[in-house]
Amino acid sequence: MKIIVAIKQVPERDAQVRIDAAAKWIEESGLQYALNESDAYALEEALQLKEKHGGEVVVLIAGPERIGPTIREALAKGADRAIAIDCADLGKLDALGVARLLAAAIKPENPDLVLTGLQSDDLGQGQTGVILAELLGLPHSSLILHVEKTDAGLTVKRELEEGWFQTIELPAPAVLTIQSGGNKLRYATLMGIKRARSKPVHQVTAAELAVDAAPVVVLERVALPQKQKSTQILSGTPKDAAAALVEKLKFEARVL
């Protein structure tokens, strides 16, 4: 089973993000980058499928020079090889442009399955995976927690709202966007990092892929959200206060 996992490098979760001078993007200098969270789960799902059925896991990533450590991390965790699309201006591209680049790199590989994270932690559009499916002419499903290979194709577990799940079957090859939390992530090991050194990383450019990735959606302005703080003190007996708290958590905060 040949699985391609498209991954993205995003600013670290704790990063103190600043807006750049033109207010068109964030200030990238001084930021630490890490593997996008749901992409990490996509990679984990791919590695588990490989462990069960054999085959190959190829990671595919587009980005500037700084993607090196993220590629090594993916290879260290068990991917067999990597394809790196040199893309210095990833921040300026839109989901369509990125998907075009990825699709062009995937096509000659003829994979049995393409996985990618549900959405990126920086832009959070959730578009790249589904556009990618369209460009490749493959069926797709999103918000996937678990993938099973069957004789007919694939059976996947999909997360719906309010705690509902849906199990669907679809033919392979397909493109699936993976939701975080379906598996337990593995940690990178010293042995993995050392073995990763000898794994091939294929570098390609947009020109070599013959792709025009010029954006059709133009980013007008980025801004930090306004800080808001509204503390409420719930009065009354502990019993009443607890009941009021549950109400608020359910219907205002919607976390229960």
Binding site: Y187, A188, M191
Partner: protein
């Protein structure tokens, strides 16, 4: 007077037949010894060479050898009665080297110690004193093993040990008896031959029993790794720790064969004492078994020879085993080595462990909290940022930066530093020191953390570091050395003890008005500054006559030695100095180097529920039983563990305070900025 006139009787002539018999017996005995010993030696020498092992500086090795082997001081100090008994046997053996050489030489008519000569007579008397002590010693040890039977020696009675004890006793008795017979007496010949046979029977038993420690342990003590719990560097691209036989180094093999099976390690092990699978003695013996069965060239996984794969992961790395071991076995590099083998290859699967590793791969702290939480705390507590001009860099650590109780300790310690006028600052960004991953054997993450932090120290021109956490202190100072040169680091107990004469001291008349209500104190503008204390004292006692503490008795504080401060850093006195400033020091039953772990170390605090009884609960109960009203800690992890354990006791539980807090509450309320 009979004794002083008596000389050691020796048969004067041996027949040719006797000489031939002696040759055959000696050859058989030495041959038997060598055939078996060669196998052991071969396994040790065919093991991998130890990376990073240096014989120099040799001074400490010589000292350890003299102190632990020659003087038997460690054994005697840790267990006086059996220790002395053992020392008598050992010293008896030493004194007997010359006697034995002469004994066999005399069998061939070449004896060189004349029983009537000055030196000969002196030496035989000397040896007789040692022989008597040795006989008493071995008898004592025999009684201990077969009558008293401490449970750490194992359930099974070792008849081999009994037989060996009998042989040693026989050797001494036959020697002493020869003073009471004359040369011509036929009994002399009988004594001589019984002595000879006992010795020649003893020799070939040595290599395949625990008595091998006689031959190996002097070398084991001398060839230690150099410092406590020293984790060796990984050697090349294929070294991931102790995975298979090929990873066993000469030191590990030497130590495995040196084990005397006394069980001190297990007796003091917090895991073994709370119903876990880990038994340090069995781990060492399993490695010996592996070497015997499979050898140092085997690819078979070492984990398979253990009782279960989780065994090494139940170790709190408290180091009681390594500290106690009388034959120089270094358990921690072995246990951590086994963890390294499992973690560095990805063989170890543990939900909590993976979570911890992922948190430290991506973020900066073991709690998995955003780094901004630390920033918020620094702002709220008003801690100055280190800019290279201050004397000290105050290292917060994961507990000090992210844990609510740890933060209280930091805030109080900062108050004390301000009071003393010591300039300090905290790093703008700090990553976990790497202690949990170092002990759990994740070398990849440890290296990343150590390098990032060393880099931050260098960029900020940090010259001195002080920390409230003994784990950070140890890791910064010792473990980071694999990746750079850390600045000098000290624990806050060392810092505080140095300023002991400048810190407020509570005399027996001083009272703590109310720990929970500092406000009234400030309102009354009472000062607890020692320089003004005298003037305020009468007023104090008048204003609070109902305080139970104003009756003249000092508050009793029981101090818990953290493993990483005591056994790891040999710091016992300083925290006690600090505690004594705040009240009356009470010792727990197990204290100083015998302190019983809280259960948090070795990354275990992050690994979820324990099996068996909780180590921390056992220790907390022991501390509570001292009747002290305060438990004094010097490690935020111990503090956190005891906080949980004391919650179960409820409101009658003693107060739990770090030494920094004990000091801070004696500071003047106003005036401390």
């Amino acid at each position: 007077m009979l004794l002083l006139t008596a000389t050691l009787a020796e048969p004067q002539h041996f027949s040719l037949l006797e000489k031939l018999l002696l040759v055959v017996l000696v050859v058989a005995s030495v041959g038997g010894f060598w055939l078996r010993f060669r196998v052991v030696l071969d396994k040790i020498l065919k093991s991998k060479k130890d990376a990073g092992f240096h014989l120099f500086p040799i001074g400490k090795r010589v000292w350890d050898f003299v102190w632990e082997v020659a003087f038997q001081a460690k054994v005697i100090h840790q267990r006086p009665l059996p220790g002395l008994a053992h020392a008598f046997v050992f010293w008896g053996f030493c004194a007997f080297v010359l006697v034995t050489l002469n004994h066999f030489a005399s069998g061939f008519g070449a004896g060189f110690l004349d029983p009537a000569g000055y030196f000969g007579r002196f030496y035989y008397y000397l040896a007789a004193v040692f022989a008597l002590a040795c006989a008493v010693g071995i008898l004592g040890l025999f009684i201990r093993r077969f009558v008293v039977r401490p449970k750490w020696l194992g359930k099974k009675l070792s008849y081999q040990s009994g037989f060996i004890a009998f042989l040693i006793f026989l050797l001494m008795v036959t020697y002493l008896a020869a003073f009471f017979v004359s040369d011509a007496d036929p009994a002399t010949r009988v004594l001589w031959w019984v002595h000879t046979l006992a010795l020649l029977t003893f020799l070939p038993i040595i290599p395949h029993t625990k008595h091998l420690h006689l031959v190996l342990s002097p070398a084991t003590v001398f060839l230690s790794r150099g410092s406590f719990s020293q984790i060796p560097p990984l050697d090349g691209d294929e070294d991931f720790g102790l995975v298979a036989g090929t990873d066993l180094t000469r030191l590990v093999s030497l130590q495995a064969y040196s084990c005397v099976e006394c069980g001190r390690c297990t007796e003091h092990c917090p895991a073994a004492n709370t119903g876990k699978l880990l038994n340090p003695k069995e781990v060492i013996l399993s490695l010996r078994g592996y070497l015997n069965d499979l050898g140092p060239a085997s690819d078979a996984p070492l984990m398979k020879s253990l009782a279960a794969p989780q065994v090494p992961f139940q170790c709190t790395t408290c180091g009681a085993c390594e500290f106690q071991c009388p034959v120089g076995i270094e358990h921690l590099p072995i246990l951590v080595g086994l963890r390294r083998g499992a973690v560095n290859t990805g063989a170890w699967e543990d939900e909590y462990g993976s979570k911890l590793f992922l948190a430290l791969e991506r973020g900066a702290n073991a709690h998995g909290l955003p780094a901004s939480e630390r920033d918020k705390f620094i702002q709220k507590a008003g801690l100055p940022i280190f800019d290279g001009t201050q004397e000290y860099c105050l290292w917060l650590g994961c507990m000090g930066g992210y844990d609510p109780k740890g933060r209280e300790i930091i805030a109080d310690f900062a108050r004390v530093m301000n009071y003393l006028g010591t300039s300090f600052g905290v790093l703008r960004k700090e990553k976990c020191c790497g202690d949990p991953v170092r002990r759990l054997g994740n070398d990849l993450v440890f290296q990343q953390l150590a390098e990032a932090n060393l880099d931050a120290f260098e960029q900020n021109k940090v010259k001195r570091v002080v920390s409230i956490c003994p784990h950070c202190v140890r890791t910064l100072q010792e473990d980071w050395k694999d990746y750079g040169t850390p600045p000098p680091v000290e624990h806050h107990s060392e810092f505080l003890a140095r300023f002991a004469d400048k810190l407020p001291k509570r005399s027996s008349r001083r009272v703590e008005l109310s720990l929970n209500e500092p406000q009234p104190l400030a309102a009354n503008s009472l000062t607890r500054n020692p320089r003004e204390a005298g003037a305020n004292l009468p007023d104090l006692s008048k204003s609070q006559p109902q305080s139970p503490l104003s009756t003249g008795s000092e508050e009793k504080i029981v101090f818990h030695d953290p493993c990483y401060l005591g056994r790891y850093r040999n710091v016992y006195k300083q925290p006690r100095t600090v505690v004594k400033l705040a009240g009356e020091l009470v010792e727990a039953p197990r204290n100083h180097e015998r302190s019983f772990c809280c259960g948090a170390g070795g990354g275990l605090v992050f690994l979820g529920d324990e099996t068996g009884e909780r180590v921390g609960k056992v220790r907390a109960a022991e501390l509570v039983a001292t009747g002290a009203s305060v438990i004094g800690t010097a490690c935020p992890f111990c503090n956190s563990i005891f906080r949980d354990a004391l919650t179960e006791i409820g409101e009658s539980a003693p107060q739990l305070l770090d030494i920094a807090q004990l000091t801070a509450r004696g500071l003047p309320v106003s005036g401390a900025s």
